[in-house]
């Protein structure tokens, strides 16, 4: 009577048995890797705009203050995108013919708003308030990155819940003095560890920043 299986069948059988255990574990690992990857979070992807507005030029070059355009940032949950009029305060004199700025001029002419594309996107059920962060020593660049060096705007942080939580659980490393809030070139000092703790003492009253109700309503 002939052999039913050849010797290599044993190897196959063993590897199948191993795979039964390994494959699911590997699957979960890969799934997590993908969900955390920039592909999913959209981090550091550039978004092109109807008008290629350059923060590098306006902030880095001309040194405009963030609040010149984002007027709501200190009082409102929404930092605010500048109305066409704000652009035209300068561009009614400068580059009045630049093709690049045509959409802006049209917007003003036909009284139709410019449709910008969003860069930093949070889910609807997350209630983010710019004003409170600014008031509590979280500077613009902490989340938005060094916009002064961004020709086109990109999302600087992963903006995942975990990322938010890291800071909400331990804000000290990210708190800067109120004086430096809108300084695009601000770098944290080497002794931020100590300074942060002191600033946290000064600025923060709410010890429960990890409560669900802080962000979800």
């Amino acid at each position: 009577m002939p052999q039913l299986f050849r010797p290599y069948a044993d190897t196959v059988a063993r590897s199948v048995l191993v795979a039964i255990v390994v494959v699911p574990v590997l699957g979960i690992a890969i799934a997590y890797w993908v969900s955390a990857s920039e592909y999913t979070t959209g981090q550091s992807t550039f978004v092109d705009q109807p008008v290629p507005f350059s923060h590098a030029h306006h902030v880095g070059g001309l040194g405009l203050d963030c609040r010149y355009c984002h007027t709501g940032v200190e009082v409102s949950p929404v930092a605010g995108i500048p109305p066409t009029h704000t652009c035209m305060t300068c561009h009614s004199q400068l580059y009045t013919q630049a093709a690049m700025l045509a959409p802006v001029r049209e917007s003003l002419a036909n009284d139709r708003p410019i449709h910008w594309n969003k860069v930093n996107r949070l889910p609807d059920y997350v209630y983010f308030d710019h004003s409170i962060h600014v008031a509590k020593g979280i500077g613009c660049t902490t989340c938005h990155g060094s916009v002064a060096s961004m020709p086109l705007m990109r999302q600087a942080a992963p903006l995942t819940m975990g990322w938010c939580l890291d800071c909400h659980r331990n804000p000290a490393p990210n708190i800067r003095p109120r004086s430096a809030m809108f300084d695009p070139s601000w770098n944290f000092p080497d002794d931020q560890a100590e300074r942060g703790i002191i600033l946290a003492h000064q600025y923060l009253h709410n010890k429960h920043l990890a409560d669900c109700s802080v962000c979800h309503r």
Partner: protein, 953 residues
Amino acid sequence: MSKHAKSSGDIRRGEPPLEFDLDRRSALRLFVGGVAAALTSCGKPPEEIVPYVQIPERETPGLPLQFATALPLAGYGRGVIVTSVEGRPIKVNGNPRHPASLGSTDLYGEAAILSLYDPDRSKAPYSSKRIQSWSSLEAALRPRLDRHRTKQGEGLALLTGRITSPTLLAQIEALTKAMPLMRWYRYEPVDDDAVRGGAMLAFGQAATMLPRFRDARVVLALDADPIGFGPEQVRFAREIIEARRPRAPDESLRLYAVEPDWSLTGALADHRLALQPERIRNVAIEIARTLGAGLEEPGLPEEASQFAKTVAADLSARRGAALVLAGPRQPADVQALCHWINAQLLGPADFIAPVDRVATGHSESLRSLASEVRVGGIETLIVIGANPIYDAPGDIGFGDTVARVPFAVHIGCYRDETAERCTWHAPLTHVLEGWSDIRSFDGTASIIQPLIRPLYDSRDVHQILAMLQGELSASSLDIVRNTWKTAGGNDWDGWWRQTLQDGVVPNTASGKISLPEPRLPQVAPAAPAENYTLILSPDPSLFDGSMANNAWLQECAKPFTRQVWGNALHLAEADAHDLGMTDGDVVQLKRGEATLEAAIFVRPGQATRVISTTLGYGRTHAGSIGSGVGFDIYRLRQADTPWLSANVTISKTGRRENLLRTQHFFELEGEAEELQPRLTLADFAKGNRGDFKLNAPDANLPTLYPAPQYDTYEWAMAIDVSACIGCNACVVACQAENNVPVVGPEEIANGRDMHWLRIDDYVVDGRPGFTPMPCMHCEHAPCEPVCPVAASIHDSEGLNLQVYNRCVGTRFCESNCPYKVRRFNFFGYADGQEYANLGAEITKAVFNPDVSVRSRGVMEKCTYCVQRISGARREAEKEGRNVREGEVVTACQAACPTQAINLGNLSDPKANIHSLRTDARSYALLGNLGTRPRTTYLAHVRNPNPDFGKARR
């Protein structure tokens, strides 16, 4: 899950947010509405941010604005302050400065915001079965008007509702000056003809009585419902509850009620007698006799006469603080008799000249219009903001009347029943869209200012009137400003700005008038009615039916029956037993030729031989929400006695109907009374809390769990049950504030509903009582440990959170909630599977951007308006301080006319909430379960007359 319309819907898809054409101001406001949301919306497809071209003054994207204005009810104004976000009005709040609001609202006011965004609103002029333009209407109208003008207005008639707007009155006056023979008719379904007649009869001149409940200690309501639904509700309810706050028994107002069916006043009363409406006059006579009136002895059943005698004694004992009120159902002579009685009692009441200056009665006016039409005296009829085809009394036969008018124009917010029968219809603006002014029931005038540009191609009344006067492009702002030109004094602009800000025109309240001694009318007693009597009242949720297309109101459960999406005939228990009928039996009503088929509810505590029901249903052209819901009782209404028709016969049809209600069990017995304990002032006065077996909030049962650590904030709510009149204002306020979806009649029939705040309607010893039921935010919340994903979780301020975006929908929390206050989205009620037209883009504009719109499959519930708490906390933190007492006010609390609801911070030792929790009346609902609720109650307290036997309470 989307925060509101723009974010989830249109902007993401790059369409314009609303499907009507936009002009800059309103459009951009609505566009930018998207910004706040768009900034926080999710999903892969690219999103847009759409900024302003130019920012309107005072506007900061993301911050709400408040504007004071006023809303009409039956023609009288109620002052409100409307919250608007990026140009979208989203919430109506009370105006503390306004006498008819005192900072609170009623359900109609709260619901007005939804009507604004009603997709069924009329959007353009309409005639001969097609959409028309205003210009063509004007073209059609001009020659006729010219003809009328040459004939001094002969053949031209104007029909409106009750008008208290000084500007509009002035305009009409001007019009009549120009055309003396023009007729102005006016009809308001919720009239007060009898009350007026009573004053005439008693004083020989028109006058409106304003009771001063704060000074009253004994009040007898004869078929009167001062705290019932209407323009005075908020004010009167506040005053009565103030006067009733538990003090020494003789210090606090005692309320008697004699009424045929249940009214809110009857439910609140310390003693109530159910009596046929005809025989209520006999009680009045009985009382008048004890005060020395030479009237013939009325025959009253033993119980009733006993009642009358005791009340009379109590009344005369409190001379100077005693008051007798007669309701609109009672004929003029009874009203007059009450005036006489009050005069004898020196009752605390003021009299003012009627705010509605037109003397002729409403039905009377309508009838004369009808007869005028029949004799062909009217060629052009212009109906403004009224819907007589639907709500005229049936015996006037108004429908065929209008058909005979050669040229009838209807101008209203909806293409309603009347619009369908008129030659022309044109859209009227919503009250939040245009300039106007209005007087409240006490004469106080308010300026109505627009919150948003008209959404559709509509015009407001003033523009219409101007059009009739021949000026086509008039701005109603100018017209209104004109009216008040004289008022301002020097710095007029400052005065105007201040007035707009306050929402009240200073010192416009009608002054008291002095009246002669009331004559004693010769009132003959009435014999008991042979047949059934049909009595009507404004509907607790739809009022007169003009708001029938408002889903919030349709799904607002009526007191006593908890019925939604429909009305019913109410029948006394004894009668139902005799006729062998039960809830849901369809019967036929017959009065003369008029018949009607409708289902019944059996109502314990209603007078026998009385069939009661409410107006406002059976609309045929209300819109996709309101059409075909319930039955239309106007058809059986009589012009001369609008609120009651005698000699009605009732017979079974054998059919049954499933009446929709959100509560099915009402009677509480024995231990169950712990759910709504009732105390009397007497035992309360002597009482130490031990006597009333209440679960004191802080008598916490022993536990193995660690004591919770709270620092700055620990929120808690206390609800005074004896202050709750069951008016539902809180319910609708909560719905508006928290984006609570409507589920619709089919889902109600499936036993599903979404109200975060419900009112439990319990009957103990035959007396109904109301308990508002928000989430209890239990310290040891049963819902939390059972949630497998921590979507139901406690936060460090003691709130029991529901994290919608974490919820997977096991519903374990609701099944383990002893209070059953959690609500589950079995379908996407607000998220793609909306009822009827509620999914329309425009309707999404009503959403509060600070509250997540819940998607299908997640649990939701009362949050103590956590968005308001968070907002206040963030503001405080920006200023480096703690949230102050009174800075956080929940929507229900703000709405409550009687201030029965209080939210406070237990960590603040000075907070008022402490006293409310330690009050002797304070109890924790089902506290014996060890849930340690944060919402606690103050027990219901009555102030019965000791002379009454304990038997009759």
